[in-house]
């Protein structure tokens, strides 16, 4: 069962926090498998996570119900964002956006 405090969940990911956030952003576009997630993140964020980091984050996200695997015949199992995951991502992005706004406002004054 997924936890209710979804925003706190992402913060509890430790070193997997950044990969987890970027995976959620990548899956917001639609279901993807591991390799496609890596390529997508590399294209929009300019970072390429190693397979250990990627699947460490995927395992955490899946265990918390933020993403789910889709059953396919293919060896490459795609993942999709769950409703809980979408809610957590929205909350996280809103939080980041407010921080960015404050930062930009303060920089403009400086």
């Amino acid at each position: 069962m997924a936890r209710r405090d979804d925003v706190a969940d992402l913060e509890e990911f430790g070193r997997f926090g950044e990969p987890a956030l970027l995976i959620l952003v990548s899956l917001a576009d639609g279901p993807k498998h591991g390799y496609a997630i890596t390529e997508d993140i590399a294209s929009f964020a300019g970072v390429r996570f190693g397979p250990g980091s990627l699947y460490g984050a995927i395992a955490r996200l899946e265990s918390r119900g933020l993403i789910e695997g889709l059953d396919t015949e293919d060896r490459r199992n795609p993942y999709q964002l769950t409703a809980v995951g979408a809610k957590a991502l929205r909350a996280r992005l809103a939080s980041m956006q407010s921080v960015a706004k404050v930062g930009q406002r303060r920089l403009a004054k400086a």
Binding site: H33, G34, Y35, T38, F49, G50, P51, G52, S53, L54, Y55, G56, I58, A59, R60, E62, S63, R75, R76, N77
Partner: protein, 219 residues
């Protein structure tokens, strides 16, 4: 490089191993990838609760709910644990602590001290409780049983005995100089002291980390 996937817990491999192998096949092998995989394997062992989907998927049924709530099912618990996992809970922390110990000893013998002084000879023995504690702690994090933690802690002793055996074979067949009984007895006495004193110090260090799991304390 796919062989590095074998470092992960078996339940984890059953869930993600195939995908990970697929991903590895799609990208060039590099040292950075290898380090990332090893770090991921260590994380999977140390934080099995972070991937409860692994065991939840394998143990569908109401019976899994209570232990899951108690966080007792993990990559290191339950029916999904293979014999290879049990063995890994011994050799992986044991080998890691052993490497640290012999690495430390290697550095020590390079230092400009009088190697024959008792104080110098005692230093490796003084660090043994910490080595034992480290191995038992890692084994406990990997959900090893009390016996597995003690065996992990005793790894330097096993390594010392193995080194002595190698020394005998080398002395008898490869050294060129005759390997006589006095040679054997000198090595044997040092090994015996290490087995008894070193073993005791290692177990002493491991002792605080040898309390049974909550699961084992439950009726």
């Amino acid at each position: 490089m796919t062989w590095l996937i074998r470092l992960y817990p078996s339940a984890w491999r059953r869930r993600y191993g195939r995908e990970l192998a697929e991903l590895l096949a799609a990208q060039p092998a590099s040292f950075r990838t290898a380090v990332d995989l090893v770090a991921g394997a260590v994380d999977a062992w140390l934080n099995p609760q972070s991937s409860t989907a692994v065991t939840a998927a394998n143990a569908k049924g109401a019976g899994a709910m209570v232990p899951k709530m108690l966080k007792l099912r993990s990559a290191g618990y339950g029916a999904n644990v293979a014999t290879a996992d049990d063995i890994k809970k011994v050799w992986l922390p044991g080998a890691a602590s052993c490497l640290l110990f012999f690495g430390f000893y290697w550095v020590l013998i390079w230092l400009p001290f009088d190697k024959t002084r008792f104080q110098f000879l005692a230093i490796p023995y003084l660090v043994l409780p910490f080595v034992g504690a480290l191995a038992a702690y890692w084994s406990r994090r990997m959900k090893g049983s009390v016996l597995e933690r003690v065996l992990s802690a005793l790894f330097p002793v096993f390594a010392f005995v193995a080194l002595f055996a190698v020394r005998i074979v080398y002395g008898l067949f490869f050294e060129g100089v005759p390997y006589t009984l006095p040679h054997f007895l000198a090595g044997f006495s040092v090994t015996l002291v290490f087995i008894v004193v070193g073993g005791l110090l290692l177990v002493l260090g491991a002792w605080p980390f040898c309390r049974p799991h909550l699961r084992q304390q439950l009726p």
